[in-house]
């Protein structure tokens, strides 16, 4: 039943996240003609959706929600006063923590898959078309990269005490990471830039002109990133074992 506790802890953010993502996608699609008419250069519908959903608002919403979902755990429970009850249950700290990590990440996946459902369906309703394969490709990219944002915040949440401390540190540190990745000597390693992998920008599997995923996805990178995220969760678990509450 630890899954239930984890679900209740993440439910609100997950549902609000799904709704916010769906509303954002709908608004983006609804305003497509107006926005495309006022664009500096002519833009296809597919390019517009890419720019607005996968390279702008949708992506930003997803990253922030992944960070928020990663911010739970035993130290957060300590700050709200429920950790005594949780640790008195006949369950190991590892189990408690892993269930929280798994259920929280399922929330990340649920938010990531929202555009896959909303964008192709909404596009059809508006008389436009957005390929399901494209939406699914971005879902795969978001799922892997979201795991990293999620795992990173999850680790911070198991290092720093306080209800929102991990979020407050994760957001500026990821912004700093983004700035660092823009430096010329780091820009030579595009596969280190998670933000670019997420939206495909400057990547060999992405066509800049069509704004579409074209080549095979970087599967090795997409396996390595979740493994790094898992190592963050594992480290968080190791940190919690000897901790006094």
């Amino acid at each position: 039943m630890l899954w239930y506790k984890a679900w209740r802890e993440t439910r609100k953010v997950t549902l609000v996240g799904i709704i916010a993502m769906a509303i954002a996608c709908v608004l983006i699609m609804y305003n497509q003609q107006l926005m495309r008419d006022h664009a500096d250069a002519p833009m296809t519908y597919i390019a517009y959706i890419y720019k607005a959903v996968y390279n702008s608002m949708g992506r930003d919403i997803f990253i922030i929600l992944s960070i928020i979902l990663g911010s739970g755990g035993l130290l957060q429970e300590k700050s709200v006063g429920t950790v005594g009850f949780t640790l008195s249950l006949p369950a190991s700290r590892t189990r408690i923590l892993l269930w929280r990590a798994v259920v929280g990440y399922l929330g990340v996946l649920a938010i990531a898959i929202t555009p896959v459902i909303v964008v192709p369906l909404g596009s059809r309703y508006l008389g436009q078309s957005y390929p399901l394969g494209q939406a699914f490709g971005f879902f795969v990219l978001w799922s892997a990269c979201g795991a990293l944002f999620y795992g990173y915040t999850f680790l911070l949440a198991h290092i720093l005490e306080g209800e929102h401390t991990s979020i407050l540190l994760a957001i500026p540190s990821l912004m700093l990471y983004g700035v660092l990745m823009g430096l010329p000597w780091l820009a030579r390693f595009p596969m280190l830039n998670i933000f670019d992998i997420m939206n495909g920008e400057d990547m060999p599997f992405f066509d800049e002109r069509l704004r579409m995923l074209v080549g095979p996805l970087p599967w090795l990178t997409l396996v390595v990133i979740p493994l790094v995220a898992m190592s963050f969760v594992f480290t968080a678990s190791r940190r919690m074992q000897p901790r006094d509450f």
């Binding site: 039943m1 209740r8 005594g84 249950l89």
Partner: protein, 312 residues
């Protein structure tokens, strides 16, 4: 089989930096009895309980609960499966309703008793549909007690269980606790309400500065502890120390001796030293508790005062 000593600690120690929360504590809690665990604020009660539950790790020493080592992670889970615990802060998940929290909690315990759950829900007037965060502190305490008492645990550990309860609920809780040993449940509870402890406890464990200062059955305390008052019409003569003399206070021509036993011999000593008035009186748990901790309390106050002066 339940061991006769359900909780046992040997030189159990917990340090937080320079602060010694629990200091080489040796204690034993007998099965199917009610043990009152007393001490001032910061005496080490909660730290001891948390060590027993595996929430904090001992700095040194060892302990067992129901025969399981508190230092072993797997044993610790087994301990928590067999016991019920109500913590001092009664922190429960505010985002769940009363019914959801009950449903969630009972899934961990095969010994859950639905009939007791229903009885306590009615008795405590807990609204099943209300969110825990919307409950008053007293109601949250009642819910925490319901979650602990709806089972038939081998050991019930309660940290300040009556805090925040109204008098009627306190009375109902005490009645429940009194009957627990008859059902095979040992009760180990900390409290600052000495009158409650005196009413229901079989054994008393007092700790101060993390050290056990009294570990005895209440019957033994009642039988042996006495206040011996000796009145003299001459300056108080020097009295030799006899076995059982715990504390001696001299006030003018009157000597008050706290005796843990041997009170008759102490009184006889007074008579031999020409005491004109000799009185042996029973002593309450409150007085024993205060006598046990007040010397250290004065020392602490003095140390604190000196530290404050040093800062100025």
């Amino acid at each position: 089989m339940i061991p006769e000593r359900i909780i046992q600690t040997h030189e159990l120690t917990k340090h937080y930096g320079d602060f010694h929360a629990v200091n080489q504590l040796n204690c034993r809690v007998r099965s199917e009895r009610i043990t009152g665990f007393l001490g001032r604020n910061g005496a080490g009660k909660s730290s001891t309980i948390k060590m027993l539950l595996g929430m904090i790790s001992p700095t040194s020493g060892s302990g067992t609960v129901l025969g399981h080592s508190i230092a072993n992670a797997k044993d610790s889970i087994e301990i928590r499966r067999k016991i019920a615990y109500v913590g001092e802060d009664k922190g429960l998940y505010g985002y769940m309703t009363v019914a959801q929290l009950i449903w969630f909690t009972k899934s961990f315990y095969p010994d859950w008793r639905p009939e007791v759950e229903k009885k306590l829900l009615a008795e405590y007037r807990l609204p099943p549909g209300r969110k825990v965060k919307a409950l008053s502190k007293g109601m949250r305490t009642k819910l925490a007690l319901l979650l602990a008492l709806s089972r038939r645990p081998e050991l019930l550990i309660l940290d300040e269980p009556t805090e925040g309860l109204d008098p009627v609920s306190i009375e109902e809780l005490l009645q429940t606790l009194v009957t627990a040993p008859a059902n095979g449940t040992t009760v180990f509870f900390s409290s600052h309400q000495l009158s409650e402890v005196e009413r229901i406890a079989d054994d008393i464990l007092i700790i101060d500065h993390g050290v056990s200062v009294l570990d005895m059955s209440l019957d033994q305390i009642r039988e042996n502890y006495r206040r011996v008052t000796l009145g003299f019409n001459i300056p108080v003569p020097k009295l030799p120390t006899l076995d059982g003399m715990e504390k001696i206070h001299v006030n003018g021509r009157q000597v008050t001796i706290l005796a843990s036993w041997n009170s008759e011999a102490i009184a006889q000593l007074g008579r031999e030293r020409n005491a004109v008035a000799v009185d042996i009186a029973p002593i309450s748990l409150r007085e024993i508790f205060l006598e046990s901790v007040q010397d250290q309390n004065k020392q602490d106050q003095q140390t604190h005062w000196e530290q404050q002066n040093a800062l100025v």
